[in-house]
Each structure stands twice: as C-alpha cells, then as structure tokens.
C-alpha cells in the first residue's frame, strides 16, 4: 500500500517537474498554478505513503536509506509548498521539485521491505533525532537553492545582462533575506538533531559521542553553518559570500548524508544500502 502511494507521488513529482520547467520556459502564471497543484497532490500521496508505512511497521519509518530518502524528499516538498505560498517565489519549484524527484527515483531503486526494527533503533530519542536532523537538512536545501539563485542573479546583474534568466529570478534582496531566514530555522534544528542524537547514542552505545564518521561530518557541517550564522550576525556578511558559504555547507550536508553512508564505515551503517 505504502509503495503504491510512494510510486504515485514519484509520478506526480515527475509531472510537477515538467510543469515547473514549462513555467520557467514560458513564464505563464497559470502554468505555475498547475505545477503547484500537481506537486501538492504528489505531496498528499507521499504523506499517505509515509503514514501507512508508519501504521504498518509500527515505528517512524526513517530506519533505512529508502525510508530516509523518502522522508527527506517529503520534507523538501513540504518546505517548497510553504515557501511558494508564503513568499510567492514561484521559480523555487523548478529547483526543488527535480531534487525531490531524484531522491524519490533513487529510493525507488532500493529494497523497500518492512523489516523488524533493529533493537538499537528502538528508542524514544531515535525518531526525534532523525526528524530534527532531516528537517534541518531539508531547510538547508532551501538555503542552498536560494544561494544558487542569488549567485546566478548577481552574476546577471554584474555582467549587465537582464535577459531571460534575470527575469525569472527574484530580487537579490529577497533571495538574501530568504537565505538568512532559512539559516535561522535550519541551524537550531540541526543543533537539536545533533543533541538528540547524542542523547540517543548514550542509550544505544553507552557514550554521547563516538567520533564515528557520521558524527564527525555532522559536526563539520554544524561548524560551517555556525560560522555562516556568526558572520552574518556580527560581521554583516551577506549576498555573495553568504551564498557561497551556504553552498559549501550544503555540500557538507550531502556528504554527511550520502558520502558517509556509502563510503565510510561506522556505527550508522544501518542506514547503508539495504541493510
């Protein structure tokens, strides 16, 4: 049941991606409305997929890579819908929907059976840890997108080209504001994710911090974003520097999520391929 909803959601995100691409190609308001409607439908189906899996498995479904990717994509779409309705940044969908789609397709290729929960994951703290960490990372995905959009738009302005690209992107000011705003939400969530993770680690492994690769890379990520926040707050960093830092931070997020799982062995290996 959950797999069916998941596949339907993937299909709708695919349609939504096309609709958003059509929107940025033709800049018709109606197309963006259609795209948002399709993605919203996909999101509803995706929610059902996660919820029915939760009922069926009896635990929060974020225990293997398939579930994690699905959850991550779900958060990204949720944030996309919020940002679209609240800030009217219509082009954002053209960035985030394809990203979510890639995560979904990636997840589709992975084993999806519901397995009995490993004892180490059966903890009060585990769902909190995972939800905080993923929500933080999903928000940083937005920060990343705003950063990329900022750099593109700034390049257009500095190169004095006000053509098709510039027309489709929001103003520098809005992009920088949203980038800062998302950082202000993402950073505390990442912090909470790491703290709840430490608490859970104490239960599971008997120590708060084990210097396992995932922990180390999370810390690196955290330090990068902490530095960005600090520079923004005190030195008044903004614009290009902040955008580039947000991109670097997101690369660390990606490595923590994928790189560590796939390349570095450690205690977090239950979220490795199929295990």
């Amino acid at each position: 049941m959950d797999i069916l909803f998941f596949k339907l959601a993937t299909f709708l995100y695919l349609l939504g991606t096309f609709a958003f691409l059509a929107y940025i190609l033709f800049l018709r308001g109606a197309l963006s409305k259609i795209a948002v409607a399709i993605v919203s439908a996909g999101f509803a189906s995706h929610t059902l997929a996660i919820f029915s899996r939760y009922i069926e498995a009896g635990y929060t479904p974020v225990t293997n890579l398939y579930e994690s990717l699905s959850f991550f994509a779900w958060m990204i779409i949720a944030l996309l819908l919020i940002a679209t309705f609240k800030y009217k940044v219509r082009v954002l969908g053209a960035f985030l929907t394809p990203m979510a789609l890639i995560l979904m397709l990636f997840a589709l290729a992975l084993p999806k059976e519901i397995l009995p929960l490993a004892p180490v994951l059966n903890s009060f703290w585990h769902p909190f840890h995972v939800v905080f960490a993923f929500l933080g990372n999903a928000i940083f995905t937005l920060t990343f997108c705003f950063g990329v959009m900022y750099l593109i738009q700034e390049h257009q302005l500095k190169a004095k080209r006000m053509g098709a690209i510039a027309k489709r992107l929001p103003s520098l000011n809005l992009l920088d504001d949203l980038s800062y705003l998302s950082l202000k939400f993402g950073f505390p969530l990442l912090t909470l994710g790491i703290i709840t993770g430490a608490v859970w680690a104490e239960y599971a492994w008997g120590r708060y911090w084990n210097w396992d690769p995932k922990e180390t890379w999370s810390l690196i990520t955290w330090l990068l974003y902490a530095a960005l926040l600090h520079q923004r707050l005190t030195v008044g960093w903004r614009g290009r520097k902040a955008a580039m830092m947000a991109i670097v931070g997101f690369l660390a997020v990606l490595f923590t999520f994928f790189g560590v799982n796939l390349l570095l062995p450690g205690l977090h290996t239950y979220s490795k391929w199929g295990q």
Partner: protein
Amino acid sequence: MELLVIGLNHNTAPIEIRECLAFPKDKLEEALARVHALSSLKEDMIVSTCNRVEIYAATREIEKAIYDLKAFFSQYHGVSLKEFEKNLYAPVGEEAVRHIFRVASSLDSMVLGEPQILGQIKDAYDLSQQAKTSGLILHRLLHRAFHVAKRVRTETKIAISAVSVSSVAVELAEKIFGTLEKKTVLLIGAGEMCELAARHLVSGGAERILVTNRTYERAVSLAQEFKGEAVPFEDMTQGFKKADIVISATNSPQYLIGHDQITRVMKDRKQKPLFFIDIADPRDIEPTVGDVENVYLYNIDDLHKVANENIKDREKEAQKAETIVQDEVVKFVSWYRSLDVTPTIVALRQKFEEIRRKELEKTLSLHPDLSDKEKKSLEALTSAIINKILHTPITLLKQTNEEAMADLYLDALHTLFGLPEKSFETLLERLEEKEETHLEDAL
C-alpha cells in the same frame, strides 16, 4: 517643392561628432534664424538631442539646399566639413517623409520606442512656429508625424515594456532591492538628467531624495522639489552611507568616485547593497567601483544595452510599426505631390471654363428666342463636355506620384494650352491667408 532632412544620429556618428554639431538649447533660436536666412530654404526647423542633430527643410532647389546646409553646419560649429560629411545623411522627398515619421514614432531611436523623442520634436516644431520658420508644408508634415507616432503607440506594443533608460534603471533597482519603498536616492549633480531619473525612481516608490552639488544652493533648490535634503558636496561620503541608489550626472572632467573610497563606504554600510547609476559623460564613477562586492554600477551605455535587450522580443511589433509608417508616408506624399499639380489643374479648369463661357455667350446672343429651359440645357451640355474632357488628364495628374512624370505632364499642359505661370507660392499664400490646415477642402 521638395522636402529634405539633413543630419546625423547615434547610428551614423560617434558621440564626439554628435556633441560637436549639437545646438545648445539657448542658442537654438539664433541658429534657426541663420538657417532660415539661407535663400535656398523656404521652411525649416532644427531638432537637436543627445542622439541626433537634424534640420528639416522644404526647398525648391534641393542640391543647393544640401550644399548650403552642409556649409552652415561647418561654419556654425567651426568644424571642417571633412570631419563629419561621411556621418551625414540627407534623405529627400518620400525618404525624408519616412525618416521624419520614423523618428517621431521612435523607430529610429537608440532605445526603440522611447517616448522622449516625440516631445523633443514637438519642442523643435513649436520653436520653428514661434520663429515663423516653418510654413504650410512643415506644419502639415509635423502634424502628420505626430499622428503617425500616436498610431504607432496605440496600435503596436513598441512602447510598452520599459524602454526609456530611466525605467530600465527602475527595473534594475527592483531586481536588486525587490522594492523601491523606503529606499533613499542620492543625486550627485542638480541637472536635468538627475532630476528626470529621480522622478522615475520616486514614481517607482523611492522614499527619500538626497541631493549634492558643487553649488550648494542648486542642491537645496532641487532637494526642495522632492521634499528631500541637500548634502554639502564635501560630505558626499556621508550621503553614500545613507543612500541605496546613487545617480551621478555632473560635468566633472575626472572621476568623482573611486574604488577604494567605495570599498571603505561598504564596510561602514555593513555591506548593504549600493546601486550606482552613472549618467555623466565623461563618467563620474571609476568603472572598477562595479567590482566592489554588493555594489552594482551601471553607466548610460549599460542602461541602453539592457533596454535594447528588452526590445529584441519586439521585432515583430517594430515590423507592424513600419507598415503603419509606410501607409502614412504614401498618404502624405500623394498630398504633397498634389500641391505641385494643383495650380495647374486650377488654371486648366479656368481656361476651359473661360472658353465655354465665351462660346456660350456668343451662341446665346445669336439665339435670343431660346426658352429658359433650352438655355439651361445648353449650359449643362457644355459643362458636361468640358468635365468629360478634363476628367482623364486631371485624374492622371493627381495620381502621379513620380515627380519626373508629373513635371513632364505639367510642362506639356502649360505649353499645349498656353496656361499662365500660376506659381506654387501664390497658392500657398492663398491657403495661409485662410489659415487652412485641412488642405483637401481648400483645394
């Protein structure tokens, strides 16, 4: 009578030459009087903007008029003709009409569709009216040109997006700041250019205007117009700290604003973005200022470039506009060709009518016993005969658009029928006495 345009514009001449040949506003009247004094010209007016310098004229001696006007440009500005002759264009007749219509409709502008040019032409025309250097032909021509401009504006989308340089500046500011609300604009220089640009930004929502100028009093008076503040010229750097947008248009021969200065300013501003618009010529702002982080620098050429990008999508609309122009050119040309043939037609009709009347009188005096009804019949018969005879040649004359052919017919008619030389000027005098604008009715 032939129409003539002589001049140069942004396509044919670089700025240095345009500047050399431009007529300053305060000397325009005197220059116009000197042009009008040339014996080869009947009517004339001068259009002088930063992108074009043109003289519109009606003349009987086209070659001489062109020669005289070239000599005038050279003498008036003290520049050798060799320096700029290759930059000049001199369309005549139909081509001149098309040129003027295209200029007025802003199809010949650097920024296609920009609205200022029409106002500039209207001013030039008004001046020629005051100075009485324009007459019936330019009068009619310019009124048609304004009509064409209006048609182009309402029937095509040429004028819609942007396209004046000032509105491009507003568009850019919006791409940087999102909205102009609560933004502060600093004007450096209190000239007309600054004022115009500031007006656009204010109507776009800008909140506060600061003005600085070498002469403090002028800064104060311009600031008052915008309910803004004047900033002493020495405190310009203070102004940078408060402003979001800086427009500079002074006559300073060297850079006023340098890279290092702005780097320091940005530190004080905590990197809040700053948008510089340099509309001065020569430039006021060192180009490397644009490399400073969070600083955006556009000079007048950049703004033009952006404006032109906006226009590429509108090639089709331009095509439509050209069709309208062509339409109106044909209409106008056939009217003004008719000016040449009309005196002959009138004379021809008079000649025939005279013959008819004389012969009719003779016949009637030979037959005094005719009834009134019979007399009327004779009257009608003779009138019908001459109308039928004249119909074909008159229609032909009116329809001949080609001047050489028309001249040939006119000569032939004058010779064959021994018509008096009724000159074009007498016709014009008659028309002007009546202050006639609707010429068709008069003819």
